[in-house]
Symmetry: C2
Subunit: 440 residues, 2 copies
């Protein structure tokens, strides 16, 4: 082939689009039922905005756009940062501001199975509320999206950046104060977050690179493996973080989330996971990931958390905020693998075939009548004979053919062929419309 879709991107055929739009429209409906409205920003932002709080690794993955006179631009790497910039620019909007967006984002990284350079996210965010109920509502809404799409065996991993900060306070105390080592929290969070990918030895090496002492590393690795089930299991951690106020605040947030999740009937799905840190730098409180157990493996299909400082950082008023993002590509991939839906191959419902050229104008008229009542149809545009037309209908997997000759025009009874079982019915146009509207 002379040209292809650029590396790390792909084209979606009509058949694939039917599945993609099915998934996105279901998600959209659930988002709207939770009272989220949509906004849209442009696909690119000032690089400064994108770099403000993304973190070193994501920052490297931004697609940069060449512009001569203007400020440097980049394609957005998520939907949260543009939304935060939007809200910083629109302080007049009533709070809480609940918005959703279902849209593509881009990351310039080496493409691999399941990781493309252009991929869709479906995000909801609640801005202006510091209540943990906002976090719970986001989680509940995302769970409902997945349940409606047919996902089962879901669980929500929970952690809190404040708890993680508490851990770091804790291990700092393990070294005498006079041996002062400088390191910031964020690289440690990013290292911990890789546990699933690079294993305990990998994380150990990363922590060494950052400059942690062996004793600190071992203590940290021990804590993040604590299985602290709700609500009692957290007691052990409370003892550990006694006196470290940031850590205690984080644990309290997690407890609140657990209590509030009972209102939403989702508390049984919540599991603390103290090794989860999430990759982005902007989180400030609870963080969460939704996992699904499928045939072979467990994978994260949604993730988010609280980012109370981002909107202010981008020039807005202080606005506490939280949100969650569904990974559309992962969701679709699993739905295909597990054959969770069986959809049509085309949106065309019926092909109005003409037995000869003479009746073509009548075929067009009937097609126009069907279109007016919302029935998707095609007529022949290739001057083909009837058998060639029906061959096309088969190839396209169009479910019905309406076959039109002079006799049918006179009698006003038309042949409707069900292409699957090849059965034909003689029906009036009204009956055909009724039948086609009922079929799906």
């Amino acid at each position: 082939m002379k040209y292809q879709s650029p590396k790390g991107t792909r084209d979606f055929t009509p058949e694939e689009m039917i599945l993609r739009e099915f998934v996105m429209s279901r998600i959209k409906k659930v988002f709207e039922s939770y009272g989220f409205d949509s906004i849209e920003t442009s696909v690119f932002e000032d690089l400064e905005v994108l770099n403000a709080k993304s973190g070193e690794e994501v920052s490297k993955q931004i697609f940069k756009i060449e512009t001569e006179k203007d400020r440097k631009l980049g394609l957005r790497f998520d939907l949260t940062v543009p939304m935060a910039r939007f809200l910083a620019n629109n302080p007049q909007l009533p709070k809480p501001f609940k918005r959703y967006a279902i849209a593509p984002v881009w990351r310039y990284e080496e493409p691999q199975a399941g990781r493309m350079r252009q991929f869709y996210q479906a995000d909801i965010d609640i801005c202006g509320s510091s209540s943990m109920e906002a976090d719970v509502e986001c989680i509940a809404c995302a769970l409902d999206c997945l349940k409606i799409l047919g996902f089962k065996n879901l669980r929500v991993k929970l952690n809190d950046r404040k708890v993680l900060e508490g851990f770091i306070e804790f291990i700092k105390k393990k070294i005498p104060a006079e041996v002062k080592i400088e390191f910031s929290d964020l690289p440690i969070f990013r290292a911990i977050d890789k546990l699933g990918k690079i294993g305990i030895d990998g994380v150990r090496k990363e922590l060494e690179k950052i400059g942690l002492r062996p004793r600190q590393i071992e203590e940290l690795l021990k804590i993040i493996k604590v299985k602290g089930t709700f609500p009692e299991g957290l007691e052990r951690l409370k003892k550990l973080l006694q006196g470290i106020s940031v850590g205690m605040d984080g644990l309290k947030e997690l407890e609140q989330i657990f209590e509030l999740s009972k209102f939403y009937g989702i508390s049984s799905l919540l599991v603390p996971d103290f090794s989860m840190a999430r990759g982005l730098d902007y989180y400030t409180g609870p963080i969460f990931e939704i996992e699904v157990e499928s045939e072979k493996k467990i994978g994260s299909i949604a993730g988010g958390g609280r980012y109370d400082n981002l909107i202010e950082l981008l020039g807005g008023r202080f606005t506490p905020a939280t949100g969650i993002s569904l990974g559309i590509e992962r969701v679709i991939e699993i739905m295909k693998e597990e054959k969770m839906v069986d959809l049509a191959k085309t949106r065309v419902k019926v092909f109005v075939a003409n037995v000869n050229e003479k009746v073509k104008p009548d075929a067009v008229k009937i097609a126009q009548d069907l279109r007016k009542v919302g029935i998707n149809c095609q007529v022949d545009l290739m001057g083909r004979n009837l058998s060639k037309q029906l061959q096309f209908v088969d190839e396209m997997k169009i479910p019905f053919a309406l076959i039109l000759g002079e006799r049918e025009i006179k009698s006003k009874k038309f042949k409707l062929r069900d292409m699957e079982n090849k059965k034909e019915l003689e029906l009036s146009l009204e009956e055909i419309i009724k039948k086609l509207k009922e079929s799906h």
Copy 2:
């Protein structure tokens, strides 16, 4: 403000999104009724693909993306070129291939009123049919989209690139063969197409620059002003282009379009306009623009044409193709100016207010019940008292509030307040659901 939406782009608030999505979903439905399926490609393409047949001016307007190792990329400037590249890559798809796409495109030009750097187009294309009926179907479908949105006073300007080529043959003959001047057709087409913008003197200057002789220029300017109504008016042009086969072919195509348009009931809207050339280089046959007469001015809101060589040029098999593109931004702009719709300010239908903290869990339960039946609702996430909650409902322009206290929980009759007229009804949850589903 610290940061803003990048130059030439803008943010869309929830209220604006409701209008945008209304417009796009209506158009989508009409596209689908005509038997078009959707495809999607990535927002960027290899620069080579974009430059293949766009023409000098558009080529300058491509946003370029920095990539290190890969081929150079650019953001798409229209939806036709990526579709043609897609079809070149997918020769297995049955023909005619009818696809639609409603998506943003980008042009790096100086922003001005009504011309942004990111804007949406809604495109349909029919590939594989050389019949003029494909062109007519595209025009009819675009007209139906506009009619369904409430547009009146529409007309379709028609021309043909072959007719324009005929004009150039014609004026070449006006100069003795020995005075050979080299010029290609495309810059002339682009110059002619600017008539509406830069006037006759502007076009004259552009043609001088290209190298046409004064006599040729005057002849050309005279022809392109010919008012050749259908069908008789074209006779004058036929005489003029007698013996110039390309020109005669073009006139025949226009006549066929006129004849076929009668089947679709749109022939009275068709008007030939021989000064219309359209800006892109890939057209090979009929070209068309839909204009609307609004309060003050006449503006083009859709345009397209036939491009029989583009798919082959991008590495595919020879595939005749035609299509039309609706300018979503212009459509929306006019609909706002002319107040053609009056839509809700938010998608939220009802706010479930709690009179105190004690009944909050019940408010959540009711909200979850409403969400399950597809009613969009919000609950308080700010710990506000009732009057503050209702103030928010007012600010957000949410149409209804369901007010919940202990008495209501016991009696299972709830107060539903219509926020517009402040009237309250006492209803069961089933009655509330019925009422909310009926209201719009």
